[in-house]
Subunit: 446 residues, 3 copies
């Protein structure tokens, strides 16, 4: 495929969002599989199917849910609420039902948003058997009393939970995890935009072998992340791999060094980075640096144990260095979890911007090496090695020379290049180029 | 007795202040004993008598001072200054004197406050034999020249230093020390208000067995605290108990885990908490939390080695986690150490407020437990245990659920519930309730 | 000689600057020797001569440069640029040349400052064989086309690098290094003022045996400091003395405990202290304290690996606690490295002020002792020892008594007197006097 460029990526990502939008995803079922089939056209996927009943950490993989049709019809047979119009109309994981009942009885099964009378809410009941419909308040208000036929043609049977991985091999086996949830039905920002940014990020990273190996995870929220963690104990330094207690060196022994959860990645609001539970993980420092130095409007939020799958990755037993990148975050916009979160709500430009920040951040993460000055006693004579101006006395020292002095000064085994950029106030790229020159001259070792 | 309620406690405390006010207290003597007799009507006391000459740390218990009468009489025999009118009129610890002398000679023995000509100052000379009178400047100005009879009918003899303790037994032997000085004569805010708040605090704590054991100390300032410390070496991790050097784990081995000195507890100014020498002791964090979250006007002051008996408890050899709670602090109001610090200067409402803050603080201290998440790998499935809403998708997560997630996230053996309240921004009570629910479900252990 | 007093020192230092000004200094050569001869009239010097070709850390001592004459003459033989008028006119370390060439060809060898057309810049080429002239832009503009005779009567031969030391013996062998560069030709602020302040500081320190031994280093910039470091490995904990890796306890094993580089010490701008690489070295804390508490206008700058010889002393292998004191710092004034940095640019008052700050700082450094409270359990009874007022009850506690309480409270082996001054807000002198009194009473030990 063609390289990922800012000019085209936004439109391509938006096209992917529109293509995925109609599918009825949930935490299991054919909607997830259809979604992964489409994603697989862009990047090769390894798809995993985990049987119902499998014990995953404290949880159990639930029965698989599928749905063919659902509606509420009035006495004339007219469908006043129809799953075919939007996958949001059915309470997620509704058990099958076929009945006729008066509106008064049906009301307890109907979910609306009185404050936004034209919007349909998104509701689920994964772990308590239930059924219901979601509809616009104004639709409900227009229904005359009387009997209605309700029908949900769903199945809840032993089956599988489905998730997929895509790996961009790097120069080292240490991994960066990029995760996005694929369980939400017809909601664009949450999280088709996150899926689209992840897909195009994977393609961009593959253009040149990155330093880290990047593992992309497309999984249902919560139960999907928990399932993946349970099946990747060694990779994450988890329970069977490292029985260690909370408080140990986080992630010791695991391959996952850093991670980022992508969610709500396409609305027009400013970028929001939510820090890992650690707060000073390298990904936190990298994201703060990139967002601040790029002068984009942005927010840096503290970790909270609520939100997306960073909840699982940052749980105290794992305590991975995983942050979360969004535009307007979780529950921060009225359209959140409603039919108003449709493809118009996300913009190609916003998704392209989210993608660009990810690429900048991973470039810094990949380049944030730690060196040791091999000539730490006094300054080495840079001029002899062609790294320093011969003419002395001028007051306009070049930034490149200053960057070399900073790298020499702080490369004591403690400071990485990002530390050096932070302390010197020099751009990371300038520091990285200086480190490259010094490394080439044999003055520092990696 | 009836439970301590905010509605009645203020008036009851003020009545106690008025009752104690006329007594002539000092660092030894019958005034202290009479004071403790009255306090003993409210809470049972264990009274200690320590003989003159007893070596206590670097100090020696002094001779006991008692006084029956004292006055200055003019040539007509009229008492122009009379101890019977106020215990402040005599320099504390004055040696006996019976003499007649001209005013010019007497002047050197007279203490006044020229800036407040109607107020009588409070002065003492505990360790240098001396005598003198304190009087209003305007009284002095009204005295014609001529001879005056001066008489101080006091005794300074081998006797005892008196102090008392009251213990509210808790669930654990670890102790919280609440200390107030009982050596000041007719001064209401300093420290009858502190005594009154301590008394009603003890009664309030006893209504329900507290977690910690609370030890109340009623002792003369400085020498009393030093005497108590000398006689409670094991309790405070002191010299004979733990010979250790300064710099060791503070208070290691002692039973006193936390403490609070109560002084100037009744004036109408805002509350002031003076931190322990450590500055980050648990009592410091608790008081900061309670004062800040209650939105009362208040000040948090750094430790200084000057003030009340926190000077002794925080001396570097003990370095106990003992702070001090006042309203307007030490020397911070003009009435300080003068006859203007009378019962009108303290208010029932202010004392009730000081008492309320102490109760809130000790509730947090008592409840500030540290737990370990027994299911630290990923989130445990709260819904299965009835701790989480079954209906998903809503954006108005309940605070109680959020609190459970925070407790699970931070209960790694490092963080206590107050840490969790601080970091989450949730009220301590909400966090404590959440911890109780998780503990009940077997998800965390204490 | 007479004691150094503020009243006379400024004028005396300025006279020294004027005397040294005409000499043509460089990193080697007779100009340095003549400078040290004059300095030696003020303080006895140990002069070191290090042969060309000596390996010093990563560098090699270069050939020695000397110059007798240099000029550009026009067709009439008139010298239009003449070394005799200013040592700045020749590019430092110019190889010898004798030629006639048209102005067009000569231009590439001519350095000017177009923005300051009447000033002559200062330029060097120490390590790349080169020649050139520095002149005023307006001089250049006035030269008609045509042939010019150029002549540089210099020698570049094997010889020596020259530097000197002066030691003020102290009570302990631990040393404070005071360093100034002596390689700049006719530039007054950079660095004749630094030399003059160093000289008078040495004389002032010698008036009374200081606590530390003070070592003054007069050496050419960069190569001189590197040569000194190479030859003083044991003194600085350097490579042959302590092979240790970067990251070890800084300066462990070396005698140099603290240091200060003096540069640009005489202009009329406010004082600037540039912190050591460590940032929290004792000299950093002392200088911050002295500058802040003296209420002089000043700046505290972070360390950067660019500037004067703190670059070498703070290189990560040595990482000495060496800061740098200037008035307007490096490259911060337009006159920097130009003929406008002449004796009029520096003022006696400014140099006297720099000297005064150095004396104050070294008094604090010398007095910043750490004590241990020998009576740490409770307060010792100060009154018994005549250290405390007998009259109690007053609210105007004396600062001296407060200082004693602070010293007792914090003398736990962790805090020095400067820490105590910082935390208490009391002046360092008051704290030091209190410590002296307590030491005299046997209550603390050093």
């Amino acid at each position: 495929m063609a390289p990922v460029t800012a000019a085209t990526a936004g439109e391509q990502m938006h096209a992917l969002v529109e293509r995925l939008y109609p599918l009825c995803r949930s935490i299991t079922g054919d909607g997830v599989r259809a979604t992964l089939d489409i994603v697989g056209e862009y990047v090769p996927l390894q798809v995993h199917e985990v049987p119902t009943g499998t014990q995953v950490l404290d949880w159990t993989v639930p029965q698989e849910w599928n749905i063919r049709d659902a509606y509420i019809a009035d006495a004339t047979g007219r469908r006043v609420v129809d799953f075919a119009a939007s996958s949001l109309h059915v309470l997620g994981y509704s058990v099958p039902v076929a009945a006729t009942m008066p509106l008064a009885e049906l009301r307890g099964r109907l979910h609306t948003l009185p404050d936004h009378p034209t919007w349909v809410p998104y509701r689920t009941s994964y772990y308590k058997p239930d059924w219901g419909f979601c509809l616009a308040q104004e639709t409900l208000d227009g229904l005359p009393d009387g009997d209605y036929e309700v029908r949900i043609d769903s199945t809840l049977t032993d089956g599988h939970l489905t998730y997929a991985e895509h790996v961009v091999p790097g120069q080292v086996p240490d991994e960066v995890l990029v995760s996005c949830h694929v369980c939400h039905p017809s909601l664009a920002n949450d999280n088709l935009a996150g899926i689209a940014v992840a897909v195009f990020l994977a393609r961009a990273l593959a253009e040149k072998t990155p330093y880290y190996t990047y593992r992309f995870l497309f999984a249902p929220g919560t139960i999907g992340a928990i399932t993946w963690l349970a099946r990747n104990a060694e990779r994450v330094g988890g329970p069977s791999a490292a029985p260690g207690r909370p408080g140990e060196e986080p992630g010791a022994g695991g391959q996952i060094r850093h991670g980022l959860v992508l969610a709500c990645a396409g609305d027009r609001g400013r970028l929001t980075y939510k820090q890992s539970r650690r707060g000073d993980a390298e990904i936190d420092r990298v994201m703060r640096y990139v967002l601040t130095s790029s002068e984009r409007p942005h927010r840096i939020n503290e970790f909270t144990p609520y939100g997306y799958d960073e909840r699982q990755f940052c749980s105290p037993g794992f305590d991975l260095g995983v942050g979360s990148l969004s535009r307007t975050p979780y529950a921060g916009y009225p359209e959140y979890h409603t039919s108003a979160d449709n493809p118009d709500f996300v913009s190609p430009e916003a998704m392209a911007d989210t993608l660009a920040v990810c690429r900048e951040a991973f470039a810094v993460l990949d380049g944030n090496r730690r060196y040791v000055n091999l000539s730490p006693y006094g300054e080495p004579q840079l001029g002899r090695r062609g790294l320093y101006d011969a003419l002395g006395g001028r007051s306009d020292t070049k930034e490149a020379q200053l960057a070399m002095l900073w790298v020499l000064s702080l490369s004591d085994g403690e400071h990485g290049l990002l530390d050096i950029a932070d302390r010197s106030g020099l751009p990371f790229d300038t520091v990285a180029v200086a480190a490259g020159a010094l490394h080439g001259a044999g003055l520092i070792k990696g």
